[in-house]
Subunit: 366 residues, 2 copies
């Protein structure tokens, strides 16, 4: 019995979609041979290959990805190498993006596997890399915190022919498929502008840093600091930058250090951190009732958001971590499933958050 099925109108008008059978008919071969050409599976005579290619070209064949995905049932695994985190921390937002991408990409049989490390401990990152060597996956999203360890690892990936994208900060020398993140250098300049705009050019500035169980700060923090200093240099800054090393978990110690600093330098009127821990400085300023210090930091995490709301933090500079996660995974998904190559460098917007606009800065808004 012949059945019409829904109108596909293969007879009347012209606008029909071209399928593999059509190609096959045009080239005078079977669909399997066309399939071999499309997927470079070989085993096709030079003659047929040329003819099929010509037809493919001529009709500008576009495979139906829906059907392909249905039929192939092939699973693609995207590995994501990222820091561990607690709720409300920076990488939680990144994770939210991963989750959203996961939900969307699962339609195309793409799954995500997470590999987490301690962002303050280089050896934990190395352990993750070791694990990765034993695992199989089709692509990787790499957070580049430990740049000097990432670079050699990408060579292994190159050899294994596994595509990878970077997030957080870029390492342009690697053969990454793409980068998603802000220009850390320019994000430094933005912080400088926000801090310096209303400052006396001869006022001093505190630069809060966090001690790492390893080397001195991430690649990203270094770049931001460069951009920050560059801006000051170009804008007639005549004060002094006081770097202080603070601790994540020792408030008493931080207080002691800062008390001493402020005691010796009355002209401090600004403060900045290059990672997401400006809430530490904010907590101090708030506790000591020092309202005369402008404070600028990075990333909209819960604790920073609160301090901005309370007026202790002047401004936050943010980098859309959720978008980084989402697009990192989605770009690889598109590459694996459709062979669609993403733009290589994707510098995301540098967001500025003030008390007045922070409340709408949420993750569910792409």
């Amino acid at each position: 019995m012949t059945m019409e099925h829904h109108t596909n109108d293969k007879s009347g008008t012209f606008a029909k979609t071209i399928r593999i059978v059509d190609i096959a008919r045009m080239a005078g071969v079977s669909t399997a041979t066309v399939d071999r050409v499309i997927h470079h599976r070989g085993k096709v005579s030079a003659e047929n290959l040329a003819r099929i290619r010509a037809v493919l070209e001529q009709v500008d064949y576009r495979p139906n990805l829906i059907a392909r995905s249905l039929a192939s049932g092939r699973e693609h695994v995207v590995a994501v190498v990222m820091p561990e985190f607690a709720a409300g921390e920076y990488w939680a937002d990144f994770e939210a993006g991963i989750l959203r991408a996961e939900a969307e990409a699962s339609r195309y049989n793409v799954t995500v596997r997470r590999f987490r490390f301690d962002q303050y401990d280089r050896t934990s990152f190395e352990r993750v890399l070791a694990t990765l060597r034993e695992e199989t996956f089709d692509a990787v999203v790499l957070a580049t915190l430990f740049a000097e360890r990432v670079i050699p690892f990408t060579q292994e990936l190159d050899e294994r022919n596994i595509p990878y994208v970077f997030v957080d900060s870029d390492l342009p020398t690697c053969h990454r498929l793409a980068y998603f993140g802000t220009s850390s250098f320019d994000a430094g300049a933005v912080a400088a502008r926000l801090l310096f705009e209303r400052l006396d050019p001869s006022a001093d500035i505190v630069v809060g840093k966090i001690l790492h169980r390893g080397e001195g700060g991430s690649n990203q923090c270094r770049e931001r600091e460069r951009g920050f200093c560059d801006y000051l240099a170009r804008h007639d800054f005549r004060g002094v930058l006081h770097a202080v090393e603070l601790r994540l978990d020792d408030e008493a110690c931080n207080t002691r250090i800062l008390d001493e600093l402020f005691a010796h330098h009355a002209s401090i009127a600004g403060a900045v951190t290059f990672n997401s821990t400006c809430y530490i400085l904010a907590g101090y300023l708030s506790a000591r009732r020092r309202s005369g210090v402008r404070l600028v930091g990075y990333d909209v995490i819960d604790r920073n958001r609160r301090m901005l709301d309370e007026g202790v933090v002047t401004a936050l500079v943010a980098q859309r971590p959720e978008v980084q996660g989402y697009r990192g995974v989605m770009s690889l998904s598109a590459w694996l499933v459709e062979g669609r190559r993403p733009a290589e460098v994707n510098n995301l917007p540098i967001d500025i958050l003030l008390k007045e606009n922070i409340s709408y800065y949420t993750n569910n808004n792409i």
Copy 2:
């Protein structure tokens, strides 16, 4: 001959995907009956309906959208009612979002039809609405510029049972499926903060307005102005607001008006517009070399961007038009294809652009 096909592992482990056949088997009916329940096609006994629904619920059945789209071949048409525009104007960015959504949704047989009106001419909007009455479509994205015309039209849509979403500014009284845009009121407050932050509280401020071939400004502009004034009132503003009516296409006239204004009010130190035409004021300030006036406006369109780069405009407040277009269409697509209901109010972030971060504010970054 039985063929294994790629490993779908319906026997061994647990993680198999649940299909309609599985539901049917569990409920002791055929797939067609399950299909009738899923699509509310009726003709199912109360008994079976209850049982099938229970199974559906219990296993949390998620249809395979890929397969559905392949099989159904059903077309959904999303109408988009939006202003005409030239390249580089505000609505061009919105259009970019529409295009992106279109590309993505076309996989699910969703197509977009545009209906354009002249944003400065109310009668042209009414003509579009008249056209819409004759057309068939499955859902609408409505730009709410002419609020008082939109409201009665949504009643017609309600009667025709056609879902619609708003963009640009919200009209909470309508039965919209969703709204995508900023809180205009708060965006007004942000502009006030950016403008007023470094201003002498007793300085005067110019408010630039554009004459409309109709009533006085859009719903959005009115709301922004309210938020702006509210902020000033709460922050001890003691100057005067001078509203001036400018023209889109008559520079000489604008110059005359502004010359006169500045001649009479030497204490003007700030300027603002509540739509995207702050480049007009900027052009004047630049031509007259008046560097002592802080200028804040809305929307990152080409001409504003240039003025920000040159330092004539102090800051721009932006509202992610591209996201509005994208999500407007995508939310309706998801609703039509999957029956997934979006959040009702989606207040997008209010973006702040300065000379230092404008260069990364592009549309291709979601």
